[in-house]
Each structure stands twice: as C-alpha cells, then as structure tokens.
C-alpha cells in the first residue's frame, strides 16, 4: 500500500449536457518520503486534482487513499500551498501564519508558536512586512506568505499547486531550496504541481505529465535519477539531466502539436508599406 493512492479517479462537474469531464482514469501512487511533480497546463485540471487530494473535492468515481484511509475532508496532515494564495484579507501576515500554526500545534506554548511563526516569515524574507495585510502586498509577497503558512505547519505531506509561479527567478530558486530542505530534513512526502519542467527536474524524484483536458489523464512517468543535493548550474553538465530534460520537453511538445489545429486557410498580404509617421523636429 502506498502512502497516497489515487485509484481510477474520474471527476465531472455539472450534469446532463452541461457536464464537464475534467479528470479521467487517474491512477497515481506516491510512496512515503517521495517527491513527485506533476507537470500540467492551464485548464488541464491540475487544481481539481489537488483539491481531490487535500479533501476539498470528492471524486465522481474512484478513491483517494491517504495512509490507506479514504480522504474525507481536509486535514492539517496535508498542507497545501495554493496557487491563488488563499490568505485571509483581514488578517496580517503574522496572523495568517499564526492561524495555521495554532491548528497544527494546539498543545504548544505561546512562545513556541511565536518563535515558529517569526522563523518561517523570516525564511520567506517577509519580516519587514509582518504586520501588513494581504492587500498591501504584491502578488509575489502573498505567495511567499502562503509558502510560509504551509511549511510552518510542518505537514506530513506537502501539496503544492504551482506555488512559485508568480516569483522572480532568484526568489523562486531560494524557496525551492527551502521547500527541499524541509522535505528532506523532516522526511516528508511532497506533491508538486507545476508548469515548469526545470522546477520539476530540480526538485522531484519522478515527473508525471498531466495531459490537457477535457478528460485529462496522466502520461508516462519520467524518473529523475540524479543524486541530491542537486546543483542548478552543474546540472547542465550532467548527461542524465540533459537526457531526461529533453525527453520530457519533447513529450510535452508532441502533446502540444496534437492539440494545436493548423489552419488551412491562406490570406494574401497586400503589398502595402506603412506611411512613415515619425515626428520630425
């Protein structure tokens, strides 16, 4: 029995002619301690998949098992970093993180909680903004609060739905390392949803593509046989990295070509040159 199992999952929304079949025939087993990345595309049903695992949605058919038991509702054992941050707008950065930490550590002292909250806010470089509310923060800063909130709970399983998408390369790299650190140090299990192949290769043990919907299903898995810790610059010299990366990118390109419909209509371009409208002094 795997740590997390998704067996023959389908998920539809709506009924009758309005029914949208989002996910179909999803089978995924994640072992304890594994780091799995799912690479998917806008509108392919990634967020629906995350919500099935964290318990915010129930499958139309099939089962989601966490440690052998069916997932029924949310639990702080599974911490989620949401794509849309999902912060409470009336609470400050500190209070947003505090709420999660209190839930996860109900028996700890006030000092412990305070120290932990501040530690994780510092980790995402938001100490100067600790008393600000979400609307006073940029998108990237909100995303960092969301990362701090999820990691501060020290969940057994870290579920990430495009957690770092809105961040610049440098911050993104730092947070990838922080997430890997916590995953590795505390022997956690992680599921990362991303549209960035490189993020997947850098972080995960396995990458599984989610094909575009409707009726999105998982593609063949790619194992990342690269020792940890991985070094982003040195990876470029690693033959295994190049091989795996090219295989994944080519697979995704082929999916893309299937999806795009080529127009057979041709239009003639008239032989017309633009009038030079530049102001001349």
């Amino acid at each position: 029995m795997a740590y997390l199992e998704l067996n023959n999952i389908t998920k539809n929304f709506g009924t009758g002619s309005d029914m949208t079949e989002v996910l179909d025939d999803i089978n995924l087993h994640i072992e304890e301690g594994e780091f799995v990345a799912i690479v998917g595309f806008t509108g392919s049903g990634k967020t629906t998949l995350v919500n099935l695992i964290n318990g915010l949605e129930t499958p139309t058919s099939g089962e989601v098992l966490f440690k052998g038991k069916p997932v029924e509702g949310t639990s702080h054992e599974r911490g989620v970093i949401f794509q849309n941050y999902s912060l409470l707008p009336w609470l400050t950065v500190y209070q947003n993180v505090e709420m999660a930490v209190r839930e996860a550590f109900p028996n700890e002292s006030k000092d412990f909680l305070d120290k932990r909250i501040k530690e994780y806010i510092a980790m995402v470089n938001l100490s100067p903004a600790i008393s600000k509310r979400p609307k006073e923060l940029s998108g990237g800063m909100r995303q960092r609060v969301s990362v701090a909130r999820a990691l501060a709970m020290d969940p057994e399983m870290i579920i990430m739905d495009e957690p770092l998408g809105a961040l610049d390369a440098l911050t993104r790299g730092n947070l990838q390392d922080e997430i890997l650190n916590i995953w590795n140090k505390n022997k956690r299990t992680a599921l990362l949803i991303t549209n960035d192949v490189d993020e997947g290769i850098y972080m995960a043990d396995r990458i599984i593509p989610l094909k575009p919907g409707p009726k999105a299903t998982l593609g063949p898995e790619f194992k990342i046989n690269i020792d940890r810790p991985r070094d982003k610059t040195l990876l470029n010299d690693n033959p295994e990295y190049k091989k795996t990366r090219n295989a994944i990118i080519e697979y995704l390109m082929d999916i893309g070509n299937e999806r795009s419909s080529n127009s057979t209509i041709q239009y003639e371009l008239p032989d017309l040159q633009p009038r030079d409208l530049r102001w001349r002094a």
Binding site: L170, N195, D196, N246, S261, S263, Y267, P274, L277
Partner: protein
C-alpha cells in the same frame, strides 16, 4: 570579452537598426535621485533578434519603454536608423506582458486600430486583408469577430502578436510577452512568433526571464547587471542556424553550454 562598443566600431552605420548610446535614466525619489541605468551602450543590427535577461528590478523594462518612447530619457541617446527617437511611434511595435487589448473590441478591431493609423493610403479591403493575414498566422482564423474579453489569455496574446506585426514596424519590442502563460502555451506562441519573424525579419528586442526562450529565439542574449546604475554586463552570441527547430536546438552540443552560461549569470 568584447564589449558592445568594440564590436560596434567594426560595423558600418547602415547595418545598425537601433543604437543606444550612453543611456542614463534617473528617477527622483524623496531620498534623492535613483539611477536606474547608467552608461548603457547597446546596438542592434538590422534583422537581428536579441533578448535581454537580468534580475527583477534591474531596469530592463525601463530600458525597453525608453526605446518605445514611453519613458523619458535622462541622458544619452536612442536612435533608429541614425535618427533620434522622439516619443512613441508606429516604427516601433510593442508586445506587452499582458496583452493590453481593448476588451470591448473584437480581435479584428483591435488589430485594425494600428493598421488604420499606418496604412491610411490603403483601401478598406487592403487594411482588412492585413488584419486577416496576421490573425490567421497566429492561429486565430476562427476568432476574427470574437471580443477580446471572450478570449483566453493565450489567445489574447496571439492578438497582441498579430497587432504588433500588422503595422510592419522597423523594430519590435517585446516585454516578457509569454511570461504569464503556462509552458505549453508559451512554447506554442514562441513558435508562432518565430515563424512570422523568420519571414519578416523585423529587428527585435525581447525581455525574458526564460533562459531557454532566450536561446531558442535570439541571435544574441544580452545580460544586464543588477541595479542601481545597471548596464550591459555580458553578451552571449547564439550561433544556431535559422530557421531553428526546437528539437535540433535541444539536441545540439552547445545548447547546455549556452544554458549554463546564462544560468550562471542569473544565479550570481
């Protein structure tokens, strides 16, 4: 390493489309002047495609918007074919990160806005044909009359590409045009853009965060130093033949060398 200035001396002036000389940008702040760019020198040859990479906040967008004429020059000069720019103009087409379409207008009408401006001497049919030609090229032949607000973000950005090419600019300026798209759509639109570009060879300056995009699209990757007083730090010529196939480029021995060079720059 050769600086852009050294190379420039060996080029005759009629090979250069766009020239930035000793460019400086200062923003006044309550705590005194903030120098964003200083001593920035860069030339772009005719029919050249260059990309600009650099850390967030280093002034890439400031530089691009100055070339577009949307942002005042503090000191130095920007010239196109030898004459200094004065404000924005249709000789420079811009593709922004967000498509910036008029949401109440159709795809056709959005493209037509610019086309009407630069082809007043053409007749209505010719102008429509120009719009249709480019909208078809970006894969929107079925969506001519859809309102911009009804299109997905990827489709809106396709309209943005059609709009920029349709006015036949001398220089195309692209500010992270695919930054908001997922990687599959991004790859598709890179192909769309480069396919039109292969045909028209409009001199292009593109800002990107994506190292692979930079290698695939450009003839030279220009690396900017971190601000304040950002300038050109390094230039990496990409020697792959055109037209490029993504699969062949990826399989090429130099690919990961280029990639390492750029990542190294960005991570330090």
């Amino acid at each position: 390493m050769e600086t852009s200035q050294n190379i420039q001396e060996t080029l005759s002036s009629n090979e250069i489309m766009l020239n930035l000389t000793d460019l400086k940008k200062v923003y006044p702040t309550p705590n005194g002047d903030y120098v964003v760019l200083e001593d920035l020198n860069l030339y772009v040859k005719k029919e050249e495609f260059i990309t600009i990479i650099g850390h967030s906040g280093c002034g890439k967008t400031t530089m691009l918007s100055m070339i577009a004429g949307l942002n005042e020059i503090t000191d130095g000069k920007i010239s196109i074919l030898g004459s200094s720019i004065k404000g924005p103009g249709p000789d420079r087409g811009v593709i922004f990160q967000s498509p910036s379409l008029m949401p109440w207008m159709t795809a056709m009408e959005n493209v037509m806005l610019g086309v009407n401006k630069v082809f007043p001497h053409g007749n209505k049919k010719e102008r429509e044909d120009i719009c249709k030609y480019y909208l078809n090229k970006v894969g929107l032949s079925g969506a001519f009359h859809k309102k911009a607000s009804e299109l997905s973000q990827g489709m809106q950005q396709r309209v943005g590409i059609a709009r920029a090419f349709a006015i036949k600019p001398k220089v195309l300026l692209l500010d992270e045009p695919f930054g908001m798209l997922d990687s599959l759509t991004r790859g598709e639109l890179q192909d769309v853009l480069i396919e039109i570009w292969n045909k028209e060879k409009i001199t292009a300056v593109m800002i990107t965060h994506d190292v692979d995009e930079a290698i695939f699209m450009s003839d030279r990757v220009v690396m900017m130093t971190s601000g304040p007083s950002a300038k050109i730090g390094d230039i990496l010529p990409i020697e792959f033949e055109r037209p490029r196939s993504r699969k062949k480029v990826l399989a090429h021995n130099d690919y990961y060398e280029y990639r390492k060079h750029l990542i190294n720059f960005l991570e330090h």
